[in-house]
Every structure is written in structure tokens, then in C-alpha cells.
């Protein structure tokens, strides 16, 4: 099976800093749940940002869905890979919860009726229907995270990167998140979960990639 995301020899260093990533070679596939673990500063979030195209690697190559990453604009990568930031506030823009899902679809040319149907299904799935008129910024952290996921999935990406998704969630919400991850994987969406919580990763992912000082030190089940 061809990898959905393939990284070859990726290295990256922040300006005036040591290398954040060194010679990363990885293949990420649809339908699998990958945990990216490591201590603070090991390069987990940097790796996520490199995959998304938010940061450009100093060397190496990324192929996404068979297309060279260099030929993909940020918005094109965003349609192929969904990314949930560590801080959900950074991804919420609209005046109400329903509009948060609808507005990118409408801007991209989808008619309002279809967008509303898609939004209603996602709001139902993420138990946000009763909050659809609420201001996103006034939601709780857990609700914001669910809304970000719903809005990301509205783009129908092939792969999803979740940066520290379990932060601020209680046990029940963590369990619900895990169930959702499994459902998405069954639907053929690949998931990469970035977390420093090794236990969460061990319990809920099929494959663990461990990073240390910007290098992959372990890639296995």
C-alpha cells in the first residue's frame, strides 16, 4: 500500500537554535492511528507543522497523497490533512458554532443547503447540536476541541494530525476521543496523535513513533 504521507530525510532547525528535527524518515498511512511521543522540545509539534507546510524543512522531501509537498500550497495541504492545534482558540473564527463549520465550505463554493446538512451531521456526531448558536470562544476547552475536529472533518481530509488532543479532557471525554479516533480510522482516515502523554499513546494508538532531540528513536507497535 502506498503511504499517504511520506517523509524522506527531513531536517529542520529554528533560526539561531539547534536542530529541531534531524533526518526524519517516516511513512504514514490512511486508516492507522499513529502516536508521536516524546518529551517537551523533542520535535513533535515541529514535525506536525512540517507535515502541514506551516514550516518548511531545511532539507528532505515530503510526498502527500502522491504529490510532492513543494507543489502543494498551504490551503491544498489543509484540504488533504486536517490539523488540530494544541490551542483550539487559534482555529476558531466564526460568530457561532454552526457558522464555524459552514463558512469555509461556502467560501470554497459549496451551496448553503449542502453545507448546512454536512454541518448538522458533524454537530450531531460531536454532540454540539445544542450549542450551534453559541459563540465558539465561550465554549469550554473540551467543546472547543470537538468543534475544531468537526470543522476540520468538514473538509473531508484523508489524514488528521491532533496536537495534544487529550489536554484538558476528563476521563469520559478522553474515552469519547479514543472512540472517535477508532471510528475515523475505520472510515479510512489516518490519524497522528502528538502527545507527551506516553500512556495515552500506548493505550490508544496502533503504532508509536518516539522522538528524542529531533530524531526518531523508535518506530513500532
Amino acid at each position: 500500500m502506498e503511504s499517504y504521507i511520506k517523509l524522506t530525510g527531513i531536517s529542520y532547525g529554528y533560526p539561531r537554535s539547534r536542530f529541531a528535527l534531524r533526518d526524519i524518515n517516516l511513512s504514514l498511512n490512511r486508516g492507522e492511528i499513529v502516536g508521536i511521543a516524546g518529551e517537551n522540545g523533542s520535535g513533535k509539534t515541529t514535525l506536525g507543522k512540517i507535515i502541514m507546510g506551516i514550516l518548511m524543512p531545511d532539507s528532505g522531501n515530503i510526498v502527500i497523497d502522491g504529490v510532492d509537498g513543494k507543489n502543494l500550497k498551504l490551503c491544498e495541504r489543509g484540504s488533504k490533512i486536517g490539523y488540530a492545534f494544541q490551542n483550539p482558540d487559534r482555529q476558531l473564527f466564526a460568530a457561532n458554532v454552526q457558522d464555524e463549520i459552514i463558512f469555509p465550505l461556502e467560501i470554497k463554493g459549496m451551496d448553503k443547503t449542502t453545507a448546512l446538512v454536512r454541518a448538522a451531521a458533524l454537530l450531531e456526531r460531536f454532540e454540539l447540536s445544542h450549542l450551534k448558536e453559541r459563540v465558539p470562544m465561550r465554549l469550554s476547552r473540551g467543546e472547543k476541541q470537538r468543534l475544531v475536529l468537526a470543522a476540520t472533518l468538514a473538509q473531508e481530509p484523508g489524514f488528521l494530525i491532533l496536537d495534544e488532543p487529550a489536554t484538558g479532557l476528563d476521563r469520559d471525554r478522553k474515552k469519547a476521543l479514543y472512540q472517535l479516533m477508532e471510528e475515523l480510522a475505520r472510515e479510512g482516515i489516518g490519524l497522528a496523535v502528538i502527545s507527551h502523554d506516553l500512556q495515552f499513546i500506548k493505550d490508544h494508538t496502533n503504532r508509536i513513533i518516539r522522538l528524542k532531540d529531533g530524531k526518531v528513536v523508535d518506530d513500532g507497535c
Binding site: M52, I54, G78, D89, R90, F93, I107, K108, Q155
Partner: protein, 245 residues
């Protein structure tokens, strides 16, 4: 390096001299001269020119665009460029465009010169000049917020693009809608920041005492006086010569 040790008050005098000169002088050659002087001053203060151009690339393009618009819409008698008999660029328009660009560039460079001092020293400099502490602190705090807002704006731009939105392909009408979406989280987060800072300052008893003692006390050195006096006298002389020509 000497530039790093220059008192922020000296930089304030330098910046005031530069900006006053560029606003008072009307002669084109002298205005361009002030532009060059301000860049030289920035270099002497340890600013890296290439990094500066890279950092302010978008603002410079905006300044250039505004200057071109100014050039095109300023009428004049001597036409330099016309299309089907309609004058597009006149000599006066070109002169106005260049002057506008240089004036805005000097203001931008002045900001950069001030940013070479750390904000705590700048507040202290203002306080030692008898500016009320609360005003000095608020001024410095607002300056400190600029890079935070810039970063938040860039993050929001990235987050919007990750929603699959291509800014270049959006029709004009929808672009305004996008900017509303961009600005909303920035305003909300700035209100949140302001509230957090207010609570933090209250909890540290900000303004509870009339008299403050200072841990950091700035002292003007000989070279500070030399730079200040030179800046003031040279700028007066420069303006006088520019007016005489």
C-alpha cells in the same frame, strides 16, 4: 558594542530629530537625504539591514503601493507618462510619491531604532524624564503587544488556509468577510490578554503606592550627550539649509 549601550532617551531624541526633519523639509533631495541618514542611524544602532527588509517586506510593498497611488493621483503640469492622452504620471506626482515613501520609511526606521532598546529601559528612560509611570508603562506595554498581535495574525492566516481557503482565489466580496473572520479572534484574544494583565497587575498591587523605588536607574554618558546635541543641532542646520536652497 557602543550602539547597544546608548541610552533609550538618546534614541528618542534621535528619532524625534529624524521624524521632525522629514516632516518639515519639502526639498526632494533633502527628504531623500534624511531617508539615507535614518537608515545609516539604524545600521549604527546594530540593526541588520537585510533582516529588516525581510521582516518588513510586506509593509515596504504596501508603502511602495501607496506611494505609486499618490504619484498617479497627484496632478501636475509636466507630464512624464501618459496613455491615450490621459496623463498618468507627472513630475510633481513622482516627487510627491517619492517623498511619501521616504517619510513613511523614516517613521518605520524610527520604530526599528527604538526597538533596539529593551522595553523596560525605555519605560525607565521616560520615567526619569518625569513622564507619569502609568502612562510610560501603558505606552511600553502597548509596544510590547505589537509582535504578539503580528504573531497571532499570522497564526490566524495559517489556520484559515489550513481550512482549505485560498486567499488568492476568493472573490473580492468574500475577501472582506474573510478579514472579519481574521480580525474577530485577534480582538477577542487582545481583550482576554488585557483582562489577564489587569488582573495580574492588580494582584501585584500596581499603583498602590505614591512613591516608587527603582531597581534600574539609567545614567546618560558623555557619548549620549554628544549624540543628542549633534542630532538636535544637525537637524536644525539641515532644515535651515534645506529651506535656503
Amino acid at each position: 558594542m557602543m550602539a547597544a549601550k546608548i541610552d533609550p532617551r538618546t534614541k528618542i531624541v534621535l528619532v524625534l530629530s529624524l521624524t521632525s526633519m522629514v516632516l518639515v523639509v519639502e526639498n526632494l533631495a533633502f527628504v531623500v537625504g534624511i531617508g539615507i541618514i535614518s537608515i545609516v542611524c539604524a545600521l549604527l544602532m546594530g540593526v541588520e539591514l537585510l533582516a529588516l527588509v525581510r521582516r518588513y517586506r510586506r509593509i515596504l510593498i504596501l508603502l511602495l503601493t501607496l506611494s505609486i497611488v499618490q504619484s498617479v493621483f497627484t496632478p501636475g503640469t509636466k507630464v512624464l507618462f501618459e496613455v491615450f492622452g490621459i496623463p498618468l504620471l507627472t513630475e510633481k506626482g513622482l516627487e510627491m510619491g517619492i517623498k511619501t515613501f521616504v517619510r513613511m520609511l523614516v517613521i518605520l526606521t524610527s520604530g526599528v531604532i527604538m526597538s533596539t532598546s529593551n522595553y523596560r529601559e525605555t519605560i525607565q528612560g521616560l520615567i526619569q524624564w518625569k513622564v507619569p509611570y502609568k502612562i510610560a508603562f501603558m505606552t511600553a506595554l502597548s509596544l510590547r503587544f505589537i509582535p504578539i498581535f503580528t504573531e497571532e495574525f499570522q497564526d490566524s492566516m495559517v489556520a484559515l488556509q489550513l481550512k482549505g481557503i485560498d486567499f488568492r482565489k476568493i472573490p473580492f466580496g468574500k475577501k472582506t468577510q474573510i478579514y472579519v473572520y481574521l480580525i474577530t479572534p485577534i480582538i477577542l484574544s487582545s481583550l482576554k490578554h488585557a483582562e489577564e494583565i489587569a488582573i495580574t497587575m492588580e494582584s501585584r498591587a500596581f499603583g498602590a503606592y505614591q512613591n516608587r523605588v527603582e531597581y534600574l536607574v539609567l545614567r546618560l554618558k558623555g557619548y549620549d550627550y554628544a549624540v543628542m546635541i549633534t542630532a538636535v543641532f544637525l537637524s536644525i542646520g539641515y532644515v535651515w539649509v534645506a529651506m535656503m536652497v
